[in-house]
Amino acid sequence: MNQPVIEVKKLYYRYPYADRYVLNDINFSVNKGEFLCITGENGAGKTTLSLIISGIIPQAQGGKMRGTVTIAGLDTSEHELAVLSQNIGIVLEDPETQLFTSKVINEVAFGAENLQIPPEEIFSRIRWALKVVRLEGYENQHPMMLSGGQKQRVAIASVLAMRPNILVLDEPTSQLDPIGTIEVFEVIKELKEKYSMTIVMVTHKSEEMAYFADNILVLSHGSVLAYGKPKDILSNREVTTNAWITIPQISELYLKLKERGIDLGEFPILQEEGVALIRDLLEKRLSANA
């Protein structure tokens, strides 16, 4: 567990033709099997950082990069995308820009075909990937005819078919409706719990961070504002205010009750935690009254 598979050291990045760096002195590491959430205000550099971790920057997008980014021991500046993409895969925000073919089966095969994997092996990967994203039976459907959540799951399956050990998800549910969000949420949960994948997820949603993250990296104006455990980050008023993070509703309720003199004890970030704390409080009061 304590073996770093992503190491970012002294990272600075500037886009082509831009005059300022969008990322400044970024340092962090992600261990094998860890779930890291990256958050921050719009324009903080979250998507850029996810593209850098995936090797797309600087391999395909150019720009000026300083510092080192290592993925599974491979320096992303020195290894081709074909090599990197077998270790790390990225799913982007908009599902429609990630679909290029006319059948789900071809979509899922796309990345594996680019890696020159033999067709028989690709078919077995497709079966596995579609099972993970719960889209078995959709092989011959046109991807554009699917719902938003289904499209995003096809995009995830397409990355999974390349068999990466690390998955980067750039705001995978931001363009989805509530049902689509739940569908994708379930898949991410399975990838974390059943397959113990190392996952880096860019998100604005604090409920998702609270539920999934082992650690949270908060970016602000291209620099690291904070890094730590979800409870430490979400309970830090200064960090959440500066990075425009809306804390989970249950945490908000805890603070409101505290303002009125009712202390639930430990700061909750998950709904179940909050429910348990409120139940304890009510039971204590009931027994005191009795």
């Binding site: 797309i56 997008q61 995308l81 074909a82 429609e96 071809n106 990345g111 680019n114 033999p118 390349m162």
Partner: protein
Amino acid sequence: MPVIEYLPGNSFFHKLDPRVKIIFLLSFAVFIFTTRNFYIISVILALALFLWITSGIPIAKIINIVRLMLPIFIFVIIVQALFQVGHTNLVSPLIPKFVPLIGGRGRITLEGTIFGLVIGYRLLTLIILMPLISMTTDINTLCLGMVKMGMSYKIAYTATIAINMIPSMEEQIMTVMDAQKLRGFAVFEEGRIHEKMKAYPTLVVPMVIGAMKKSMLMSVAMDARAFGSKKTRTYIDKIAFTATDYSALIMLIILLGILSYYNFIR
């Protein structure tokens, strides 16, 4: 419903290998633009219409395509009629003599008008012929066909993705038009031609910007899936020539032979 979307089917033309279809369409496209024989173009047009009907593609789609291309046909015919050199005047002068400075200039000739009509007829035939391939061939198979014919897979994918993007661009135009209608801008439904012409930028600009943004994001997504990182790639689809393909090729060669005889020898 997008105009040139793939329509699955079981017709003779649907079942042909994409390579046969590509050879078929390219050879006729060359004929359309090299022949000076009106009848040969008509034979190709009739064949294209026959294939549309036998492939089960609704005739309404042809009407839609022709309607979309109508401004271009009219433009080509007008330009040729005005600027093509000819001896037989239909209208001369075009601008009455009493108009100061430019009066007495310009003319429309019979030769120019006929030339314009011929070019328009060629374009019409080509426009009816070309969508046959994208409407009867699945995009993955079409791409594989191009690759098997020796085209680089990067170019083949670029071409097929471009075809694939046309329906989504059409949808985008519809969305922009709906958004305009919601704000009381109904020129494209109710306006006169000059009002429509004036309003086109409001439709084209968001569409072009949207398409550029989308293509940039698509290139990132393709890079992320190692597209282009190796010289060749594998394919899960397979295509192979069947007896039908060979017979279609033989029929095509015979037809091309007959057309060539009438075009070049007689």
